[in-house]
């Protein structure tokens, strides 16, 4: 079973969003389920800080031995910070997807797209498993 922490929101594209309740800036990463499906991540391309994104935009990609997945921004706003550590060491996404493997932070403008609760995301991933 993959790890799906409480207190985060999720997307159908297997990303997590932290900090929605606390303020204007959220942190985005990919889930434990997603990293397990991908296998060893070898390359990450992230948006540049300062980029304005819309919810649902493709903003980067995560590439593993076997496949590549696009990264979507689950919220609209301005990218205020990207995690240079995962660019330099992509396997942080495998070892710590909810911690050191975070991808980017967005200052939210407008409403986020439909996000899933941990329960809803658990149902989604068990349906695919």
């Amino acid at each position: 079973m993959s790890n799906i922490p409480e207190g985060l929101s999720y997307t159908k594209e297997h990303e997590w969003v932290a900090g929605l309740d606390e303020g204007l800036t959220v942190t985005v990463g990919i889930t434990d389920y997603a990293q397990d499906q991908l296998g060893d991540v070898v390359y990450v391309q992230l948006p540049e800080a300062g980029t304005t994104v819309e919810a649902g935009d493709s903003v980067g990609e995560v590439e593993s031995t076997k496949s590549v997945s696009e990264i979507y921004s689950p919220v609209g706003g301005e990218v205020v910070e990207v995690n240079q550590a995962v660019v330099d060491k992509p396997d942080l996404i495998n070892s710590d997807p909810y911690g050191e493997g975070w991808l980017f932070r967005v200052r939210v403008e407008g409403e986020p797209e439909d996000l899933l609760s941990p329960e809803e995301y658990t149902a989604l991933t068990s349906g695919e498993a």
Binding site: D36, G39, D40, Y43, E63, T65, K66, V68, N94
Partner: protein
């Protein structure tokens, strides 16, 4: 539903990610495929390859039947030796690539790819008509376990009386490993030294567990198909369905040497291949190393300037080189200024000699 191998429960207990490969439920990886790849290069890896097909050709004219059915000269193969060869269609297109073992004067075992062995068995049956030889597909009865890597011989030596140091590359002999009757072959698909053990399906679990135990002090780990694919790609070995298919000839793949025109008699594909042998090659299989970090994949276009000059057949991040690598068919002579179209952006590539990796012997 994909078919399980006799080792399915073992894979599940090891936490493998299982995948459907050519209709078989196979381990893709157990943990990190990069770690599995490195273990095979530096220590040893244990593979379940039970999806491969084993087709027996027996009888007084078994060798002659294979000479007619395949591009190789199998009737002169010594007992206990093996050859890499191919079966082609009448137009010279590759139906499958094969390893043929001569087990006795009148007995050969043809090992075919999982995706093709039914086709190969049928073609061999048809082509063996008129020869005093029988074709028998025993794929369902056999399991195949491979031990690959620099420590493979030491690990197996503790489990068998067979004289492994004198078993040459591309040789195979019947023996006993961990109490299990096996055909012990010094073959593989990783670019490392290693062995492939053909055993009865019901013996596979015992064999796997004994090898795991014996291999532990040497750093042996179970390795899945993901690692197998990056290992063979680094070693420049073709994969059927990628570098080889019915529209590809052995010459396209740079493997014209396996076609033995000097053997006596006709063989399926001879006329077509003779005509192609003397024609200038249409395209060439080349090795590509990416300058950047994005990975060229199967089916991506190879571009020179604003012109498509070829297509990637296999690509992956290479754990040994630390860069993305690929094999691609390109127009003959197109070697300079190549790029691969990776989702709309042109990523520069350098052409290199195959293989990407060669072990120190």
């Amino acid at each position: 539903m994909a078919r399980p191998t006799p080792l399915r429960d073992v894979h599940e207990s090891l936490g493998a990610t299982l995948t459907d490969f050519a209709g078989w439920l196979m381990p893709l990886r157990y943990g990190s495929e990069t770690a599995e790849h490195r273990a095979v290069r530096e220590a040893a890896g244990l593979f379940d390859l039970s999806h491969m097909g084993e087709i027996f050709v027996t009888g007084p004219q078994a060798g002659q039947a294979l000479d007619y059915a395949l591009v190789g000269h199998l009737s002169v193969l010594a007992t206990g030796r093996a050859r890499y060869t191919m079966i082609v269609n009448p137009a010279g297109g590759v139906v499958d690539d094969l390893i043929v073992y001569r087990l006795a004067d009148d007995e050969f075992m043809v090992v075919a790819n999982a995706s093709n062995y039914r086709t190969v068995a049928l073609a061999l049956t048809n082509r063996a008509r008129g020869f005093d030889a029988q074709v028998d597909d025993r794929s369902d009865a056999y399991a195949l376990v491979a031990v690959q890597g620099p420590h493979a011989q030491e690990i197996l030596a503790s489990l068998t009386d067979t004289d492994l140091p004198n078993l040459r590359y591309y040789a195979g002999l019947p023996g006993v490993v961990a109490g299990v009757e096996a055909l012990i072959a010094r073959t593989g698909y990783t670019g490392e030294d290693g062995f492939e053990l053909f055993v009865r399906g019901e013996d596979a679990v015992t064999l796997w567990q004994e090898i795991s135990k014996a291999g532990q002090p040497y750093g042996l780990v179970p390795a899945g198909l993901s690692a197998r694919d990056t290992l063979r790609l680094e070693a420049g070995m073709p994969l059927y369905g990628n570098e080889l298919n019915e529209e590809t000839t052995p010459f396209d793949a740079g493997l014209g040497r396996v076609v033995k025109f000097d053997k006596p008699g006709d063989f399926v594909g001879r006329a077509a291949l003779e005509a192609l042998r003397d024609a200038p090659p249409r395209r060439q299989l080349v090795g590509l190393v990416a300058r950047g970090r994005r990975v060229p994949r199967h089916g991506f276009s190879v571009v020179a300037g604003d012109r498509v000059v070829g297509e990637v057949t296999s690509g992956a991040p290479s754990p040994t080189l630390g860069k993305p690598i690929a094999m691609a068919y390109v127009e003959t002579g197109a070697h300079e200024g190549l790029a691969v179209d990776i989702r709309g952006s042109l990523e520069p590539m350098d052409v290199v000699e195959l293989p990407f990796y060669r072990r120190n012997k």
